[in-house]
Point group: C2
Chain length 398, copies 2
């Protein structure tokens, strides 16, 4: 197993800075982890991701299992050899994506949005104690993902951090359903850990996943149970409520439960990455985050800027940028802004549906988030997190 | 006007090496000119295009006229200011694209292929002495492009080299139709030069266009007429026959006619860029070339490699590359090959419809063509063109 060393603690919050050591290198925390869902960060080459300051990426077990397949990836030297990313890799368990097929997207559920349409329903055929049966979106074949298979696939992928299979429940289910689902998730956790103990790579870190929905007692029980398990780290998943405030409260319940005797286990918050949520998550004691936000927004023409009133966003499709000679963000050292590309030119590319626009905005957004995390890390080390967090929340440029 | 200085001549062919000087810098010739059709090279940022060794790009008057409009571009500092490309820019006249709408694509016609379908027909409403009336593919509005308007648009774009408006005729028309069309093109040439003399930027070089179809006497007459005109350079356009051999013959008629007294005018071959055609074109005395080939092939998953038997191409979609750990081309110094990206990973990206694949292959293809041209330039300077051309034709890596 790798090691997580806490190097600094904030006096006013649960925030901590540290170094997460893996077989493929260290990750300075707190850190954001860009998505390399299908074995690549969309639009950006591995060396460029590293050049932006990122040390770890997240690959998606479900998508890679379906294509090109974990056996092929294993023969190519694992996900490191196949993708050309030399540093630490975390893989999720595949559960999130499968359950997404069943009830809109789980991202919608986590954020309390309406499901994205009936055309997505029905792909989950059954959730049983053994695992989850689903229909592949690629070939229509029936498949089953079990806790053991998820671990075996992640072992073949050779990721540095594997996540256990959990049942991802929708936002609207009852407390009792949530409790039953969490219990199943805990049984699956034990099966994952047992498989890993017998067959897994010793160098691979396995993170358990805290469930429990929006219920304080269930969240705390789940956090304590995962912390007491043999997992090397702790991920917080599942439905995090309808509002940001509720999400922060739920994450706080979990990390409060991790305070005594479990400090040395690194903590990952699944699927969260808005700028204010990153700041709040760090204050709540989260060490790593993953989210589609910076890359997805970039592909869709939205750039991150130091403007909290606009949720740190500017949409470059807008007609107001048609003649703008401004860069995406003045003074920004990212490759896109440093090259002097104007908002008008980027908007033209977006209107021409040119993927270069999405790439250049993805580079900018990833650089922006990397600087936010770098600022937070440095602030924890200097004992100035509250000031830095307040400045970022007020619109200071990272 | 800029100047074209010939620095070396080949003893065995019409090939020459030179330096084409423009307001925005020099171009070492013979040179390939990548397409920045709509104000960008697809998938690749301006600084990257320059980094591959390119000194000039080609912008498309027709597309830029429709969107975002030449007035907007002019207010942004011309195409240089708008696009961020600081070096020389050549713009075509817009005629090629308009005539393409009328009879399949002109590229199809030049290469003797069947028109691409009736859905494209009818957008050219009328070709008259005044100019060509067409229906915009953007908003359905009727527009007219005249020789004078083409020059005015290109003046607003601020390109270093402007091409006159010519009538692009299909492959299959009669000799008499071709003769009439060439005569109109020559009258339009005079109108373009007159407009430029009265209103154009003195720093902008205007190239006339040689027409004449597949008929030797018409081609020779057209070449002589363009050479004798006030144009600063000579472009060879129109239908170049059905086979490569015929194309080389037709280009040869034109450049043979340019030998006496017109050597100092730079010569551009429009829309030609296959590797063997570049070699043949250089031997025939062409100085610059433009073509969609390297960028279009790259976007579609085809890489250029030193394999003449396969037309210098390898299609990375193929199942045979599913587990290939080879780079696109062994020993290739391009950014894609140097990064160690494997054919298997690139194929995976292509199958996932990830634009990064097209970008990485475009970088490789442009680098490949840049090295071919660099080899040819160096060979002319060293008096070894025939050896270098033979080696490249036999599959030597550029």
């Amino acid at each position: 197993m790798g090691a997580f060393a806490i190097t600094a603690r904030d006096a006013d919050s649960r925030a901590r800075a540290g170094v997460l050591s893996t077989l493929h290198g260290d990750v300075d925390t707190p850190a954001f982890v860009p998505l390399a869902t299908k074995g690549f960060v969309r639009g950006v080459a591995p060396s460029e991701v590293a050049g932006l300051g990122y040390q770890m990426v997240l690959g998606n077990t479900f998508h890679l299992f379906l294509a090109p397949g974990h056996e092929l990836i294993q023969r190519a030297g694992g996900l490191h050899g196949f993708s050309g990313w030399p540093g630490p890799i975390i893989t999720d368990s595949g559960g999130f994506q499968i359950f997404s097929m069943g009830h809109g997207t789980v991202a919608d559920e986590i954020k309390g949005r309406a499901p994205s349409g009936p055309e997505r329903a029905g792909a989950v055929l059954a959730v049983e104690e053994s695992g989850v049966r689903f229909r592949s979106y690629l070939d229509g074949a029936e498949r089953e993902l079990t806790p053991e298979l998820s671990m075996a696939v992640q072992s073949a992928l050779g990721s540095d951090i594997a996540l256990v299979l959990d049942e991802c429940t929708p936002f609207h289910i009852s407390r009792e359903q949530t409790a039953r689902s969490s219990e199943r998730t805990h049984r699956w956790l034990e099966r994952c850990l047992a498989w890993h103990a017998d067959h897994g790579r010793p160098s691979q870190l396995v993170y358990g996943i805290v469930q429990g929905g929006v219920h304080e007692d269930l969240r705390r029980q789940s956090a304590a149970l995962v912390a007491d398990s043999g997992s090397a780290g702790i991920a917080i998943g599942g439905s995090l409520g309808r509002e940001k405030e509720q999400m922060h409260e739920i994450v706080g319940w979990a990390t409060a439960e991790l305070g005594d005797g479990h400090e040395s286990k690194p903590r990952h918050l699944l699927g969260i990455g808005e700028i204010d949520d990153l700041i709040a998550g760090v204050e709540l004691g989260i060490d790593t985050f993953d989210c589609a936000m910076p890359t997805r927004l970039g592909r869709h023409g939205v750039a991150l800027v130091a403007d909290p009133d606009a949720r740190w966003r500017v949409n470059l499709h807008g007609a107001r940028w048609g003649e703008s000679r401004e860069p995406v963000m003045g003074g920004c050292p990212c490759p896109t802004c440093a090259a002097g590309h104007t908002r008008a030119w980027l908007r033209h590319l977006l209107h021409q549906r040119e993927p270069l626009a999405g790439r250049l905005l993805t580079l900018h957004n990833l650089a922006f988030v990397a600087r936010v995390m770098g600022n937070l890390r440095a602030a924890i080390a200097r004992g100035r997190l509250s000031q830095t967090a307040a400045a970022l929340r007020a619109g200071a440029a990272p």
